[in-house]
């Protein structure tokens, strides 16, 4: 760049006497030239995308300009322990050379943050002669200026051996070097800050993407009359809290709310994992205690040490208003009873992710709660420990008051009332805010109004009065009677004109369903009764299976008895695979279970 400059100003004395000679003769022009050189380098620094290349060019220019034999730029490393040469010109290439932070003239210059003007290095003990010894080069004089911005030391630039004349550097050389060092220091700091800024922006963008994925893990609102409502406001971009709810195919709703220890990205990742596991397993594991145990096992197997999740989860049945709830170390959920009182449910098990061994065997303890039109609230401590406008915490009592005061509002409005008290405008949140409410008011009203299906009649014949009866059969709950049932079903399937394979499939499904009754409903007892009825309507084969055992929690079926044969969920899988529809009807009024299976013809 200095060359370009001189070629556009042919009358400059610097041109006639070479760059090196220009420094000492020529008054105003000399000053003008210094400024030209400095401003050219300043422009180069400012526009450069490659700071190292600019520094190298700067060293070349100043070495030429001052007419020195060599020049070098040293920078301190991040720890400030070593000086490393980043650019050098002259007969000896020393890029990469490292010195202790206080070694040599350059080290002393950096440490004292003051320029060095050494006319004869042989008289200075600090001189590091290592390079001279290795290369045979002889260093006579050194000019060295520190690079620093305010108190931040960056390094130093040194020039070696003035050419021509008396071989001594002039004061003006030092002034020029100092000016250039200052400008180089500025450029380096700017480059570092720009780099940090770019990195920061990249991280912020990634965080925003992570937050977007996290938001997508939260469920869509269920609509106006939906009994479960949740809200989540992260304190930072990403959240360690989560809530979820999703319907099961029997009309019940599985829900949960959790709080991962810690905040920030690691908490967010564990949150994503826990929420995904819960949702995935929750579709097949139908009791919260067992579901939580499964999630716990998974998290324990792979979780990072020291991280855990407090988790409350359950299943709500709008048809009965009953919630089964399990609490793993979470803030006690609050039940706002229909009589206006509150009841809490403290955790009876440790948080998820702490120990795979549970006190109560292989399940988390569950409680059963009859909502009877009341509402269950689950929340994280970000809510109860949230700061109010006067600096105090909301606390559980404050929460109760708010809920009571807004009891006449709908569920979402009640939750908003709580949130708006803690999240005021742009005030930074102390912790993530997450709230979930399961409101039984509508379910209760519907039950009162008799909108839910009438209890099924005792006589299963009556349940299928419009249908053509193909078969009706009652057998004892004994494994050796299954063949009788299979033969009967085979005949009924034939009557419907089913082909060999579909007929076999239907027989298999009925057989497996009967096995479930024998194993689970009657617990293997041969003294129960199984009533089978097969009907046909237009286009459908309908199978009704009735037992008279205690009403079973379908989700609690544990296929693990009878002489150690362990089909796991295989039988149920067969039934689902073969039948187009399978569901338990509401328990008959005189007890027992009634299963309806449909095969389309």
């Amino acid at each position: 760049m200095a060359k370009e400059k001189s070629s556009t100003k042919p009358e400059s004395p610097a041109e006639s006497s070479g760059h090196g000679g220009g420094g000492k003769s020529g008054g105003e022009v000399n000053v003008f030239d210094h400024l030209e050189l400095l401003s050219a380098m300043g422009r180069d620094f400012a526009s450069s995308l490659d700071i190292e290349a600019s520094l190298k060019r700067a060293i070349e220019h100043i070495t030429n300009y001052v007419n020195a034999e060599g020049g070098a730029l040293f920078m301190l490393d991040d720890e400030g322990e070593t000086l490393r040469c980043h650019a050098s010109v002259g007969p000896v290439e020393i890029i990469g050379l490292t010195l202790e932070a206080d070694q040599g003239i350059v080290g002393r210059c950096v440490q004292s943050n003051a320029s060095e003007f050494i006319r004869d290095v042989s008289k200075d003990k600090a001189f590091h002669g290592g390079v001279d010894e290795e290369t045979g080069f002889t260093t006579r004089s050194i000019l060295c200026a520190p690079m620093s911005v305010k108190d931040e030391r960056i390094g130093a630039i040194e020039l070696i051996n003035k050419r021509g004349g008396d071989g001594l550097f002039a004061d003006s050389d030092l002034h020029l070097l100092e000016a250039m060092s200052a400008s180089a220091a500025m450029a380096i700091i700017n480059a570092r800050m720009a780099e940090a800024l770019v990195e920061q922006e990249r991280l912020a963008r990634e965080l925003e993407l992570a937050a977007e994925i996290q938001r997508s893990l939260l469920p869509e609102p269920g609509g106006e009359d939906y009994p479960v409502v949740g809200v989540n406001h992260p304190a930072r971009t990403v959240s360690g809290d989560f809530y979820d709810f999703f319907p099961l195919d029997d009309g019940r709703i599985c829900f949960n709310l959790g709080d991962v220890s810690g905040k920030g990205m690691n908490a967010a990742l564990l949150m994503a994992k826990t929420a995904s596991l819960y949702r995935c397993l929750g579709k097949t594991v139908r009791t919260p205690g067992r579901l939580m145990a499964r999630v716990n096992t998974e998290i324990c197997e792979t979780a990072t040490r020291g991280m855990f999740v407090t988790l409350a989860g359950g299943i709500y049945d709008p048809k009965t208003g009953i919630i089964r709830l399990a609490n793993a170390g979470h803030e006690p959920p609050l039940f706002h009873r229909p009589d206006g009182e509150f009841q809490d449910f403290p955790a009876e098990a440790p948080p998820v992710g702490i120990t795979p061994i549970l006190a109560d065997g292989d399940e988390f303890p569950e409680i059963e709660l009859h909502l009877d039109g009341g509402t269950l609230y689950i929340f994280t401590d970000g809510v109860t420990e949230g700061y109010l406008e006067d600096g105090s915490e909301l606390e559980v009592e404050g929460f109760k008051t708010l809920i009571r005061d807004n009891a006449a509002q709908d569920t979402a409005t009640r939750l908003d009332a709580v949130i708006s008290l803690i999240k005021r405008g742009d005030t930074a949140l102390r912790d993530d805010l997450t709230l979930l409410a399961i409101d039984d008011a509508k379910g209760h009203a519907a039950r009162q109004a008799g909108e839910s299906p009438e209890p099924v009649s005792v006589d299963i014949e009556a349940a299928a009065v419009e249908e053509e009866l193909l078969l009706s059969l009652t057998v004892p709950s004994r494994a050796d009677r299954l063949k009788t049932i299979r033969n009967a079903v085979t005949e009924a399937a034939k009557l419907c004109g089913l082909g060999k394979d579909p007929a076999h499939d239907v027989v298999l499904a009925v057989d497996e369903a009967c096995q479930n009754i024998i194993r689970h409903a009657y617990g293997g007892s041969p003294n129960g009764k199984i009533k089978l009825k097969i009907c046909r309507t237009e286009g459908e084969l309908i199978i009704l299976l009735r037992d008279f055992a205690e009403t079973i929690d379908v989700s609690k079926v544990k296929p693990r008895e009878l002489d150690d044969v362990k089909p796991g969920g295989l039988g149920t899988h067969f039934i689902r695979e073969v039948m187009d529809e399978t569901y338990f009807l509401d328990p008959p009024v005189d007890g027992g279970n009634l299963l309806r299976m449909i095969k389309r013809l």
């Binding site: 494994a479 050796d480 299954l482 063949k483 299979r486 060999k500 394979d501 076999h504 499939d505 027989v507 298999l508 057989d511 497996e512 096995q515 024998i518 194993r519 009878l562 002489d563 150690d564 044969v565 362990k566 089909p567 796991g568 295989l570 039988g571 899988h573 067969f574 695979e577 073969v578």
Partner: protein
């Protein structure tokens, strides 16, 4: 359910016959595990099995796992249509090695 066990070509051949259901699968399981215990490859002949349910399939799976644990093998031969249908429903038709005939099975397990 009946069964018949013989040894041929360095393998145990166990033929199950009749329905393998909730009632008979405990017996089937015992028979199969006893065969696996002989430390020879096991061929389970299912040509005579008209019906097999989930508990029967579970017995087969358990025996296969047990055989593999001891470095041995258990394969199914001459699988009846009904049994094959159930194995397919259970997605186990790809888990088990299935040969059309006892002879093919012996050739399959011969070291």
């Amino acid at each position: 359910m009946n069964h018949e066990i013989k040894e041929d070509g360095g393998a145990v051949i166990v033929a199950l016959e009749g329905d393998v259901d909730l009632q008979s699968s405990p017996d089937a399981r015992k028979v199969l595990l006893e065969c696996v215990g002989r430390k020879m490859p096991v061929l389970v002949d299912l040509s005579g099995v008209g019906y097999i349910d989930s508990s029967g399939v579970a017995s087969l799976v358990e025996s296969l796992q047990s055989a593999r644990k001891t470095g041995s093998n258990l394969i199914l031969v001459a699988v009846s249509e009904g049994a094959r249908r159930v194995l397919e429903l259970a997605r186990l038709d790809k888990v088990f090695t299935i040969c059309d005939t006892v002879e093919d099975g012996i050739a399959q397990v011969r070291p």
